[in-house]
């Protein structure tokens, strides 16, 4: 009995430690964003802001290009994730539902493309986009991002579609529905929870993307928020309160939609995870 109690206490301590390590840095982010520029450079850091101020948020939103960066990121992420769902859904459908020639090669190719890292792709795609005259243009980035979202969406959707019972589909066939109709009118609505959570993950992948944006977007009016944030850093004493305010503002929307989708996240993590 004593041992059981000891184990219980050790377990709670370990959980508490995990929580501190996971959330401490996030608290520090929030804490810094609420401080004045003078206070962040105090000799002894204050664990709670002496004077809570929203100045850094105000300055970021009015005095910098941040809002424009958020707008660009939003346009790109919404467009690319919706595009990816509509183009990749048929692939997931046929891989989950039909027997056809070359199925294995097809699914292998999709998985291969999903796992292929950006480091292999970013220079060739930079040249490709430059040839099309789309460097420094949002459209150039919107052309590039589906190279990772399309295979990702197709791959992640397969188990969601496969888990839907096939009886409804058979009934639809008997009633004279074509494959096309079954795919969009029967299965699509049933797979909607999975489709929505996959769209969210695709959105998140585009939202914080840095390397492609860094290479392709140069002038301030087309930059996404990661580039605007890194643009704030210059000199020896960067305005960390503003940077952290930007970090908080960029994280909150993602956190909210993740929490909403978290039920499917738990089951789906091993099925493919989210690309880093």
């Amino acid at each position: 009995m004593k041992r059981k109690l000891r184990n219980k206490i050790l377990h709670r301590i370990f959980i508490a430690l995990c929580l501190i390590v996971a959330l401490g840095p996030i608290y520090w982010m929030l804490n810094t964003s609420l401080k004045s520029e003078a206070e962040i450079y105090y000799k002894i850091p204050t664990l709670w802001p002496e004077h809570v101020t929203l100045d850094s948020y105000k300055y970021l939103l009015t005095g910098t290009n941040f809002l424009n960066g958020i707008k660009n990121s939003l346009i790109i992420a919404v467009f690319v994730s919706l595009f990816s769902i509509f183009v990749a859904y048929p692939a997931a459908y046929v891989l989950a539902r039909l027997q056809f020639k070359g199925k294995r090669v097809f699914s292998k190719t999709i998985l291969f493309m999903y796992l292929l890292p950006t480091s292999v792709l970013y220079i060739p795609l930079y040249i490709f986009v430059a040839r099309l005259g789309l460097t420094n243009n949002i459209w150039g980035i919107m052309l590039i991002y589906p190279t990772f979202t399309l295979p990702y969406v197709a791959w992640i959707l397969i188990p969601h579609i496969a888990s839907i019972s096939s009886t409804l589909e058979e009934a639809a066939y008997i009633d004279g529905c074509s494959k096309f109709q079954t795919m969009y009118r029967i299965i699509f609505p049933l797979a909607l929870p999975g489709i929505i959570s996959t769209t969210i993950f695709a959105f998140a992948m585009c939202w914080g993307e840095y390397l492609y944006a860094l290479v392709n977007l140069i002038s301030s009016e087309v930059q996404t928020f990661p580039l605007v944030l890194s643009g704030l850093i210059f000199g020896d004493m960067p305005p960390w309160n503003q940077l952290m305010a930007g970090a908080i503002m960029a994280s909150v929307p993602i956190l909210i939609i993740y929490m909403l989708a978290s039920s499917s996240l738990v089951g789906g993590a091993t099925a493919g995870g989210v690309k880093e």
């Binding site: 377990h11 390590v21 996971a22 959330l23 183009v87 699914s107 930079y126 490709f128 940077l243």
Partner: protein, 308 residues
């Protein structure tokens, strides 16, 4: 039998017809640029310059460049240590969350947060935490009495490597944790009960009951994470910039500097092409693991053929 093959033929036609947009898109924007890129790695293409064929010269120069070799060594160091740490911590996290306790669901959701944040946000946060003068890391270590002078985290090779590993591990561990946890929850309690009756202690239960069950998912997570970690760019670029003196310059930072700063596009791609065999090996090992069902079916079919 005949109608079945006719059905498959109809399915085949439908499957490819409906996926024309996807196939065309990926061929144009993924396959074609990669093939073109591989060709360019055999030329002296620069940004804004013309390309002429120079054979294997880019590769020869790379392999003779000590900076390139160092970047590969750094990548290996960074990847191996990060993956080991993420595997150990992720397993521990999963085991702790597999115990039933009050508030378990909320703890699980909170522990996932690092993984959901945009990486750029995480990286800047660590850069601020490890700031030499006003960073909280130095302050905490000082008040614990572990150091008496501020450490210049990004100023020495060992510490700089440690910071990029910490940033990577902090964000990557929940992926391992949640993947392993999903598997742990499928292990039946009766296994543990049986082991306990046989007199197995906690360590033995872990080694002989838990570990064999979660081995596959650990390997899978570790391989996926390895691909992502070798591929890491912004964590290093925005945290240390590859410094001090190139001690944290990983492969991607080297390729970025070569291609975008020195404008040697051809040589920059050659760096990626040299890494390609490693990626292909990892990816094909992964695909084999992630498509096990069909693999089994094929094996059966092959066996059947053999018997005939």
């Amino acid at each position: 039998m005949k109608s079945k093959s006719r059905k498959t033929a109809a399915n085949t036609r439908f499957a490819y017809k409906i996926n024309v947009p996807l196939i065309v898109y990926l061929c144009c924007v993924l396959v074609f640029p990669v093939c073109w890129g591989i060709y360019i790695s055999f030329t002296n293409k620069t940004i804004g310059g013309d390309a002429s064929f120079i054979g294997l010269r880019n590769y020869e120069r790379l392999l003779k460049d000590p900076e390139y070799i160092r970047s590969i060594v750094n990548t290996l160091k960074f990847t191996v240590i990060s993956i080991l740490a993420k595997t150990l911590l992720g397993t521990a996290m999963a085991m702790a969350l597999n115990v039933d306790f009050k508030g378990r669901n909320i703890c699980r959701a909170l522990l996932m947060i690092p993984w959901t944040l945009p990486n750029i946000v995480v990286v800047y946060n660590w850069r601020w935490i490890f700031d030499a003068n006003s960073g909280i890391a130095n302050h905490l270590l000082k008040s614990l009495g572990l150091i008496d002078k501020n450490l210049v985290w990004f100023g020495s090779a060992g510490l700089a490597m440690l910071t990029i590993i910490i940033a990577n591990v902090w964000r990557g561990t929940p992926f391992f944790g949640i993947s392993i946890l999903a598997k742990l929850q499928t292990i039946s309690d009766s296994y543990y009960e049986a082991a306990q009756i046989d007199g197995a202690n906690a360590l033995q239960r872990f080694l002989y009951v838990t570990l064999p069950e979660i081995k596959d998912v650990i390997i899978l997570s570790a391989m996926m994470s390895t691909i992502w970690t070798i591929n890491e760019f912004e964590t290093v670029w925005l945290l240390t910039g590859g410094g001090p003196n190139g001690s944290t310059e990983v492969m991607n930072v080297y390729s970025y500097k070569t291609a975008m700063r020195s404008m040697q596009l051809g040589r920059g791609i050659a760096v990626s092409v040299l890494a390609l065999p490693v990626f292909i090996l990892l990816i094909s090992l992964l695909t084999r693991r992630m498509l096990p069902e069909e693999e089994g079916m094929q094996k059966k079919r092959r066996l059947g053929r053999g018997r005939k």
